[in-house]
């Protein structure tokens, strides 16, 4: 009887792989924040979708959220880097400690602060918290 579940699981795995591959196909490898990000932020039990577009011109970061008639410009975008620790001399480079990338952007009175998860992956994630006045919550966006 268990075998009857296999095709469905296989389809799920294939579909998931296709989504992942498709996601990677558009991935950008330049500035860690540049690109289009999609995800959501929470307010209590409520979740709100958000699209963030950030651009790097070589000197400064700019951007917007939710492109379209309701888009709003990012009023500030900053990336901070905590240096890592290279691998000791003679050891494989992969034994080093990577730098940590943190980002903060402000839009429509909200301040988002987060940390990049696996910044070398095309579909990297930025997760953290947001605040507006005495409101706050979490957010998670993934670069597409």
């Amino acid at each position: 009887m268990r075998i009857s579940y296999l095709p469905a699981r296989l389809c799920l795995v294939v579909a998931a792989a296709a989504v992942l591959i498709a996601g990677g196909a558009t991935a950008q490898e330049g500035h860690p924040l540049a690109g289009t990000w999609y995800g959501d932020y929470t307010t209590g039990q409520q979740t709100t979708d958000i699209t963030v577009i950030m651009k790097w011109d070589g000197k400064s970061l700019t951007g917007m959220i939710n492109p379209g008639p309701n888009s709003k410009p990012l009023t500030s975008v900053v990336m901070d880097i905590t240096p890592g620790k290279p691998a000791p001399q003679g050891q494989q480079s992969t034994s080093g400690t990577p730098p940590v990338f943190r980002a903060r952007f402000e839009v429509d009175g909200m301040t988002f602060e987060g940390t990049l998860k696996n910044p070398v992956a095309g579909n990297r994630q930025l997760t953290g918290t947001w605040k507006r006045g005495n409101q706050s919550g979490t957010f998670k966006i993934r670069r597409v």
């Binding site: 591959i21 480079s93 994630q125």
Partner: protein
């Protein structure tokens, strides 16, 4: 009875699993490293080339040993050097050479802070698009372990640089004196125009996107990159290569690499390489693309 029945079921499962393993292994064994029969040696050297890359060396350990002086630079009737195979002689290609553009001068490279940090991350997590079969342009073409071939078409006033392995694709270098188009759609290989300066072929490439790494170690770039390469074949077996990186998106100044040396591999023809089957980093193709297996270094 129940135990016997369970044992039979286990034995049956084991047999089925074994049969499946044999079948699957057999299927993949056909693909092996993607090389057709007779090309195994090339693939073997390719992996060694990858090892060189990890060591950051180039022009070393080619297994050639001390040899007689190389024949002189082959030339066309018009006197220009031939960068690829010589008509009338066995075809060949260039072995891997360029692995990391900073090459021993990391502290002298004018990285922007983010670019230096990204470079450092990439030393630890080799999540390179090339490992996912993505065409990777400019200098990355010269570190595919299975070699690179120049195919010159003087009548067409262009040259093709074929990179064997990885995406198994090619770049066109226009040699007809054309100018760059105004708006170049960014691509992995960009738009390359070359001209001769004496015996050196100078190639400038613009219109590059950000979907690849310029070298196996992940020297960062942005779409603002203008990449200039200089190729000089100093004798039959030696190709000198330098690159100048002009990318205000990632660097505070233009910088030039050290001299890389590629070695001629006579008698090695391009072969069919199916990246999706022969990839040495399969987990990076269909895995979560969020985690990197750091237990080994990927140079497919």
């Amino acid at each position: 009875m129940k135990t016997q029945s369970t044992n039979r079921a286990v034995a049956l499962c084991a047999c089925v699993a074994l049969a499946l393993m044999v079948a699957v292994t057999g299927a993949f064994a056909q693909d092996d490293d993607g090389a057709p029969p007779g090309q195994g040696a090339a693939a073997g050297r390719g992996r060694a080339g990858g090892g060189q890359g990890r060591a950051g060396g180039q022009g070393r350990g080619q297994g050639r040993g001390a040899a007689a002086p190389a024949p002189p630079t082959p030339r066309r009737a018009d006197g220009k050097p031939i960068l690829g195979s010589v008509p009338g002689q066995p075809v060949g290609g260039w072995g891997a050479g360029v692995t990391t553009l900073p090459q021993g001068q990391l502290d002298k490279i004018p990285f922007q802070p983010w670019a230096r940090a990204v470079y450092e991350v990439r030393q630890i997590d080799q999540f390179e698009p090339h490992t996912r079969c993505k065409a990777s342009g400019v200098s990355r073409q010269f570190s595919t372990p299975y070699g690179t071939e120049f195919v010159e078409a003087p009548d067409l006033q262009r040259m093709y640089i074929m990179d064997n392995g990885g995406p198994n694709s090619y770049r066109i270098i226009y040699l007809d004196g054309r100018a760059f188009p105004e708006n170049i759609p960014p691509t992995n290989y960009g738009y390359s125009i070359g001209h001769w300066e004496g015996d050196t072929l100078v190639v400038e490439t613009r219109g590059l996107n950000e979907k690849f790494w310029m070298d196996t170690r992940g020297t960062p770039h942005t779409a603002q990159l203008k990449f200039t390469e200089r190729f000089t074949r100093s004798d039959m077996n030696t190709l000198h290569y330098t690159a100048t990186i002009d990318d205000p998106g990632a660097y505070t100044a233009t910088w030039t690499t050290t001299d890389f040396t590629l070695r001629w591999r006579p008698g090695e023809e391009l072969f069919e390489y199916i990246c999706q089957q022969a990839n040495q980093g399969p987990t990076l193709m269909v895995g979560s693309q969020e985690e990197v297996d750091n237990t080994r270094f990927f140079v497919p």
